[in-house]
Structure formats: C-alpha cells, structure tokens
Amino acid sequence: MNTKSLVAFIFIALLVIAGAYTAFLGLNVGGLSIPPLTESVSQGLDLQGGVYLVYEADTDSTGAELDREMEQVIEIFRLRVDSMGLTEPVIVREGDDRVRVELPGVEAAEEAIAMIGTTARLEFLDPDGNLVISGNDIDDARVMMDANNRPYVALELDAGAREAFAEATGRLAQLPSDPVDDRVIEIILDGEVISAPEVSERIDTGRPTITSQTFTIETASELAALIRAGALPVELEEIRTSTITATLGEYALDRSIQAAIIGISLLMLFMIVIYKIPGLVADIALTVYILLVFGVIVLLNATVTLPGIAALILSIGMAVDANVIIFERIKEDIGTGKTVRVAIESGFKRAFRTILDANVTTLIAGVVLYQFGTGPIRGFAILLIIGILCSMFTAIIITRLLLRLVVKINTRKSKTLFGLK
C-alpha cells in the first residue's frame, strides 16, 4: 500500500470536484467570490433571445460601387440600431451583397425588423423647419480631401434643386453670425439629425460641401454614407429572419442542461459499473474534459448556440470512447502476461494511434462543416472541433496520469483493478 499515491489520487479527485463546483455553481467563501464560469459563456441568439436578419441588396453594381452601396446600407442600419439602445448589436457585410444583423435581447422583434427594413427618409431643413431639399434632390455624396489633407463631405445636387438650395443658403448666409443656430441647415435622416452645418455663403453651383474641424476619415465617410443612404436608397430583400423570445431561449437552455445532467450522470454510472476503478478514473477525466471545454469556450469567446450544446453533449459521449479504447487495450496486454504497469504504458502507446486516426476523421468532418456551413451549423461545428481536441488531450494526459497513480497505490492487487485475476 502506497499512501503517498493514494493521497495524491484523492487530492486530484477533490481538486477536480472543487473545480467543477466552482465552474458551475460559483464560489462564495469569506470575502472571496468567484462567479460561475458558465456565466462568462456568451450565449447565441437562440438561447438569450433576439433577432437575426440577413438582407440582400437588390443591385447590379460591382466592385468599388458595390462596396460604397454596402457601406451606406451598413451605416444606416447602424444609425437605426443605435437608436434602439441595445448592448451588443452585430452588423456585418456577408459575402458580396449581403448584410447580417444580430440584435440580442430585442423584445419587440417584428417592430425592430420593420424599423430596420424601412426605406430611409432624408431631409435638409432650415432653422424655421422649412424643407430646403430632400433625399431625391441629391445625386451623390462622397468624402474628399482638401489641400491640407483634411477630409470633407462633397455633395452633388440634382439640377432641379440648385435654385432652391441657392435661395436658402443665400438667405441664411446674410444673417448675423451670432446666434449660429439661425444660420444652420439641419440634415435629418429618419427623424434624426445627422449633421447641422452652418451656412457660410450662397451656393448656386449645386455642389455644397460640409467641413468640420472634428472630421476624421471615418466620421466623414459615415456622414457621406448616411446621406447617400437617404438619397440613393438600395433596395433590400429580407432573405433570412430568425427571432426568438428570451423566454423560449431560456426554456431551451434549461431543458438542454437537464438533459446534459441526466445523460452525463447515467454515463458516469455506466462507466463505473463496467470498469469499476478505471471507470472512476474515466469519470474524473471526463469531468476535467468538461471543465477544459468550458475553459476553451470562455477563452476563445466562442458563442454557444443550441446546436452547439447538442454537439457538446454528443462529444461528451464520444470523449469516453478514448478511455474505453485505452482500457480495453490495457486489459488485453495484461492478458498476454505483462505486468499492469508495463501494460498501461504499452496499452497507451498502441491506443494512441487508434485514437488519433479515429479522431482526425471526425475532425475533418468538423472543419468542413465550419468552412461551408452557415449560421447554426457553424455553431455546431466549432463546438464539435473544440470537443474532439479536448477529449484527445484529457484521455491521453489525464487518464494516463490517474491510472499510473492508481496502480502505484497497491501494486500487488492492481490486476484486480481491471477485473482480471
């Protein structure tokens, strides 16, 4: 009986249990308070509720022209989404002519969609609230650089709107320079003031410019894109919508967690019944595996979706496989007359090749899924990949470490551990 190894084994087991407890339930001892690790996992829209949208621009443009159009679509979406006051909205261009919008936590889903999808309304108003020109009157808006390399926004007005614009600017330019507010033209998009430049002179060329000391290339481009969005709206088609209420998402998560707890408990029990002490070793390794997977998820800031949870639970079942292959190998090697200690080493060596070949093939499926999949499929693939890599690691490192310890505890009786005489 080797007490040192026994103590080490028990210590590791307790450490793993404590780790699992802290990770899933959090810790609150004295002044020390650790929130559960699971709280740091970012949840997909299907779990926390929200809106997922993909729009396709109905346009024949290509190249730089298409880039400009997509930029203006994104800018106007951003303006509208910002006004909803959401925490972590996502607005990104997808492929060439698509924009993906993700709005976590939106409650009135269809209202939000209606707001995002409406055609933009752009107006230039004088200080009295009279309409000077509207979106239709603008042919183009783009960012230019002045002699000092400072960005400004250059507009091009429709020939028919020149006169009205010249009249209004001429009138405002004559007013005294104080108060400034009286000499300002407000540019309003969907009811929101996006710029309020002061008129400095009468403009009859139809080519007004907006300058500002505070313009950076980004802010000037943003403004130009917003004006274009109101002037030359790009027709958008809603090609993909997915909304889910927070309640339903929460319910889905609860049910999945319940399924995981029951499935894993049955699995652990099964391993102990079949393999006794090595089964217990596999269970500890499995707990380490689950902790590791959660650690990697938090570290990579990977988003956990409902299909992702399915992949995780599936990978837990598969993670045990490596242990089973190892145990069966060791048993066989003991059967050929090797000592347990030698059998563990040789069994691991031979099992390693099997585990590697078997897992690489599954990994190929995971990587292809990630590369070619869309939306929910990618969520499934990423967790499948993380799961396979972690399961190989725990089976090869943790299981071996624990088995070596167990054998040392009582060398003479170690054969009975594997159910052999």
Partner: protein
C-alpha cells in the same frame, strides 16, 4: 465468430431497410425543410388548445397551403409553416389577427424563422458540397494512413449509414433540413471513426495473416474490438437519447438522425465495413495468384 462468412445476411438486412426507405420515398416523395425550399415558420403560444381547423380560417388569408402543428406538453403552442416566405409586414399582420381572435396576452410570436427561396437553394448546395468534401478528405486521410482498400470499405459503410438514416426519415416522413445535414456530417465522422477502430486492429493483425485467410483475420479483429464498439455506442447513445427526450423541438431535429446514425454506424463498422474490406482483399489476392499462374 463467423461474421465475414455470413455477410450475405447482414447485407440483405441493410438492403431491406434501405429498400423500404426507397419505397416510402417513391410513394410520399421527399419532404424538404423550409431552409431548403424557402418559407416561414412561426411558433405561437395560444395559451389554450385550439383546433387546427379554426386557426386555418385565419391562415387562409396568408397561405392556404400552410401547415399547422401543435407542440409542447399541453399542445398549447402551434407551429405554422408556410412555403411562402412571408414578409415582416405579413408576419406581423398574421400574428395580430391571431392575437385579436384569441385574446392572446403576449404581443410576440415565440419564434419566427424565415428563409428566402434564393438562400434556400444556396444552403442546399453548400450542404451537399460539404458532405462530398468531407468524404473525399476522409478517403485521402485513410489512404494515407492505411491503404485505399480500407478507405473504400469505410466509405461503403458510411454510404450505408447515410442511406439508413435517410430511410428512417422517409419512413417517419420527417422533413430534411439543415440541422439534418449537420447531423449527417457528424454521423459521417462517427461512422468512419468506428470503422477506423476496427481497421486499426486489422492493420495490426496483418503480420499474422495465414494463407491469405482474410476472413479469419477480419473475424478476429472484429471480435477484439467488439466490446469497445458496443460500450462506446452505449455511452454516446445515453447522452444523445437524454437530449432527444428532454430537449426542445430544435434539439430533437438534431438528436433523432444522430441516434439512427450512431446505431447504424456501430452496426456497419462490424457487419459492413470489415466484410467489404475482406471482399476487396480476396479479389486482389485472386487476381495476384491468377497473374502469378499466368507468368510462370
């Protein structure tokens, strides 16, 4: 164990299942999910059980061909599925109509999924492409690590598993959708994984091959890995069945093909993959001895 010798019976069992699936497909046709065809799916909490025929009266204004399903323990939730992809406005109107008709206290559907027809086509193509690419990737890896005969045998087992799962779907008349494809790809990995474990043992036993008796070699290898095959499929099934029983609708669509695939994958690694490999090797050996006889 005389598995290789009795391969005829195992092949017939599989062929019968696949044939049944084929017949069902011919009679009923293949039902595709809205993510492949384009369409809309709306889940609404009706707060009480309401007959589908009643709901249909409201639905007729939007899509007379829409399907209505009751789900949830008390059957209070309905899922409306249309092959038209309804616009945001139409969806809102539809919900408002139902809300007014049945005095719903909620002001939102629980869940909405809409797919335009163009994106459906694209998802379908990508799905097929990804299945093809991973199959080729696996074949290359196996040929590299083992040899071509193993690759062909494990892909045969794989094709078998996919056909079995498709047959299960055809018989149960469940629509084939994007999550189904993800499940198929996972089965792809799992099935090959299973075959590889047996083949790894075959590869190891090759040096002890006696008088080109590939059948005996196959049987021994199957026997040596049988316990592992069964234990692993039991552990995987334990978790995935728990998920199927307790999970919500969207999880069930993943879990069901996985269950069928895992069972089929275990079966095929034992009864299909190895016998097919033995057939290939026996043919190769016969060819060699024939050529040997000719040249001498």
């Amino acid at each position: 164990m005389k598995i290789v010798e009795n391969k005829k019976y195992f092949f017939i069992i599989s062929a019968l299942i696949i044939l049944t699936g084929g017949i069902f497909t011919l009679i009923q046709g293949v039902e595709l999910g809205i993510d492949f065809t384009g369409g809309t799916e709306i889940e609404i909490d009706m707060e009480q059980y309401i007959e589908a025929s009643e709901i249909r009266e409201v639905l007729d204004d939007y899509d007379p061909a829409a399907s209505i399903n009751h789900i949830g323990g008390d059957q209070n939730n309905i899922v409306i599925r249309t092959s038209e992809d309804l616009s945001s406005e139409q969806r809102r109107d539809l919900f408002n109509d139902l809300q007014a008709e049945y005095n719903l206290s909620t002001d939102q559907p629980l869940r909405v999924d809409q797919f335009g027809p163009s994106i459906g086509q694209e998802i379908q193509q990508r799905a097929l492409l990804s299945i093809l690419i991973s199959a080729i990737g696996m074949l290359i890896y196996i040929t590299f690590r083992f040899e071509l005969s193993y690759g062909i045998a494990s892909l045969t087992a794989l094709l078998h598993d996919i056909l079995i799962v498709l047959s299960v779907y055809a018989v149960l008349n469940i629509p084939i959708n994007n999550p189904f494809i993800a499940a198929v790809l996972t089965i792809l990995g799992y099935s090959i994984n299973d075959s590889i474990v047996v083949f790894d043992r075959v590869r190891e036993n090759i040096p002890f091959l006696k008088k080109n008796n590939f059948a005996e070699l196959g049987n021994t290898s199957i026997a040596q890995t049988l316990k592992r095959s069964i234990i692993t499929s039991v552990t995987t099934l334990l978790t995935i069945v728990a998920l199927y029983i307790l999970g919500v609708e969207q999880i069930k669509t993943f879990a069901l093909p996985l269950i069928a695939g895992i069972i089929s994958g275990t079966y095929s690694s034992i009864f299909i993959a190895t016998p097919v490999w033995v057939m290939i090797k026996e043919r190769q050996a016969a060819k060699k001895s024939y050529q040997g006889a000719k040249s001498s």
